[in-house]
Amino acid sequence: MLTKRIIPCLDVKAGRVVKGKSFVDLRDAGDPVELADFYYREGADELVFLDISASSEGRATMVEVVERISEKVFMPLTVGGGLRTIDNIRRMLLAGADKTSLNTAAVQNPHIISEGADKFGSQCIVVAIDARRVPGSKQPRWEVYTHGGQKPTELDAVEWAKKAVSLGAGEILLTSMDADGHQSGYDNELTRTISEAVNVPVIASGGAGTPQDLYNALLIGKADAVLAASILHYNNYTIKDIKEYLSQKGIPVRK
């Protein structure tokens, strides 16, 4: 049986790992290569690296970081953040990334999804969606934000997810901006709505504080995988703890 994936997410700025609380208040949490190796040995199922460097120097550093990680860590690596062109994607794949995650670039130029999927295969193209609940709507609705959560787009998250998949996205990395950084649970309604609307895997992101939050995202949210950052980085729980918990509650995980 296909197991549910636990995916540590490392935010990298200028070659160092940082993690934001609701996208601000960054705090340095270590060297990306060492952390990648640590999570590899701990039993992570994949790794996601988000480059939050604003500069081109930072992005060049990220290519080197990916090269070094892929020499040490033999599991799937997804890299996102600041990828704007087919050439940006190609560079990351050649550096050793298995998948690239597109967010703002995909919204601004959806054609990059189809072109990337055609050139490298859908499995290389992850579309990351940052979504925020629209307050006061009768039916629950979520709006897509770009530019690291700064800019509202008026796009409906469910419609955008469907469109991204129809263009060739092989996976959706879905972050609830309302839940992100608060460690009080994922937005399971959002996750479930999107997971049921598309036929590609959905990674739930934003809000994990306890193993039960991950369980809920997988069971109630119908996520195929869960992204976790703070819950892991600050040693509240280990991947082993989380997998033992999930396994005891009947969720299939890799041991």
């Binding site: 049986m1 296909l2 197991t3 549910k4 994936r5 590899y40 199922d45 892929s70 020499e71 033999f74 599991m75 799937p76 794949l93 050649l94 550096a95 050793g96 298995d98 490298f120 295969g121 859908s122 499995q123 290389c124 092989g170 996976e171 036929n199 590609v200 895997p201 195929d224 995988a225 890799r254 041991k255």
Partner: protein, 205 residues
Amino acid sequence: MITIIDYGAGNIRSVLNAVARLGYTTKLVSTPQEVDEAEVLILPGVGAAGHIMESLKASKLDNAIRKYIAENRYFLGICIGMQILLGETEENGGKDCLNIVPGVVRKFNGGLKVPHMGWNQVKQRKSHPVFNGIPDETDFYFVHSYYAEPEDKTVIAGETIYGKPFCSAIIRDNMIATQFHPEKSGEPGLKIYDNFVKLATGKIL
């Protein structure tokens, strides 16, 4: 020396890294003559089967691979590198493949999420040195939308369940192929490469 076919697509680097990590020297090749000279050959695969077949045909690597395998030399195909061993694939609107292993490559359907992406168990259907030290039902990493259906079921060396059981490894004589990615499957995956190279170079029998 481990020879790895580079047909201009695919994540060659992770395969190179995995083999290099085990301490073996590697060589990337892209011509029929270099394939013919290989001692141990790996065909990695990421991308679309139709595109890869076109690329292999254009460089005449298709016949070089057929000849290499017909001579019963050690071969390891990975993911699409396994699928194109079959007769034909439904991918890219239907394409002929190498037809070294008669059969068809079909798309997953029936309400399953596609690609089949993540870690899943491989039930070992053959006892073979390539599985040395790897417990039955070990999880390996998969990412694919199509699966191989060989006509001759005796070539099936591994089976995995996604909706229903499908062929996740093929072994026939010295030709070995996996649908999963050993280079992305942690230590058990590295062990597959290590076993394969040791077998091919006569270090295990």
